[in-house]
Structures are given as structure tokens and as C-alpha cells.
Homo-oligomer: 105 residues x 2
Amino acid sequence: MFSLVVQVEVQPDRREEFLTGIAANAAASVRDEPGCLRFDVCSVAADPHRFVFYELYTGVEAFAAHKASPHFTQWRRIAERVLVPGSQLNTPGELLCTHTSEESS
Amino acid sequence: MFSLVVQVEVQPDRREEFLTGIAANAAASVRDEPGCLRFDVCSVAADPHRFVFYELYTGVEAFAAHKASPHFTQWRRIAERVLVPGSQLNTPGELLCTHTSEESS
């Protein structure tokens, strides 16, 4: 399974616009893409303008489909306005093991 | 919900010992701790000796209980042998939104 950790920094006056935009992208990704299995958005305790996304896809093809989706295009337009330029750091990889006791949603 | 992203670098000759140790810690954390909801371990595509953990807890008290558990003590003993000293980077925060279509395990 393809995993992606994304670290971003948001411009000080763009926090609300960022949160609305990434929430819409996360929801549409799992709802509309059969290959997007999970999309979490987390704050960072040390800095109210830093955030981390944790995304899981069935494979690299599913991640390519994600990047070709209309909601991703819309998110990138918002990202260009709200993120600190050059701040986004993507760490792709593979999910090696997972354990959960979460209720299914 | 308390979230934690952990980035580590493993010594070149300690990869197998690391993988066995972190898999045991992840499994025991979700199995034995009511407050540990998820523990994922991911590889990093760019470097076979870097890894990312993604952990979710019901709150800071649950994370404190995690660090007081016997399996965490055992993991830290292994971590001291297998990780590159000073390489571990913890990013605690809060889960702001989550979407999943994963099968419950």
C-alpha cells in the first residue's frame, strides 16, 4: 500500500482558507477515488501554521489518479494561495504494518 | 484526538532488528492500550533506512500511558541499539479531520 506523509506551512492570514480547502480535498479523495483509502489532516502542536497529512492509497496508480482528479486540481489552486512557497515536504513510501482499534466510519 | 508522526533513521546493519522491534511495539500498543487507536509503520521511498510512524491516541493521557507501558520500555531498549543517535523527530499534534474507506481490522 502506498503511503504519503505531507508537511506544510500555512501563511499566517490564510489558516481558515487552508482548513476549508484541505478538508474538502480529503473528503472528496476518499469519497470519489476507489484507490484512496485514508486521508487524515493533523495540526502540529509546536506551530499553529504547520500541518501534516497522512494519506494511504492502494498503489502508485491510485496516487496518480488522485493527482489527476478535479478536487486535487481545486486544492492545488488553493494551496498556491495559502501555503508558504516551498514549504511543502512530501514523504512517499509503503505501509509496512498497521494496527487499529478505530471504529470504521 | 492526539496524533503523532515519528521520523527515524535506522543504522545500516540494524534494519531487520528495527522492523521486528517496531512491529512488536505497534501491535502491543493497539492490543494492550485502550487509548492507542492506531499505529502504522511506513517505509520512505527515497531511503531504505528511514521510516515514519503514524500514531493516534484518545488524548495526551493515553499517550502518557503509552510511554509508561512495558512494550514501550522494551522498544526503547531496541531503539537505542538500532536508531541513528539523534535521528528521531517527533511531531505531536491533533487530528483535525479523518476520512477512511479502509476495512476495519
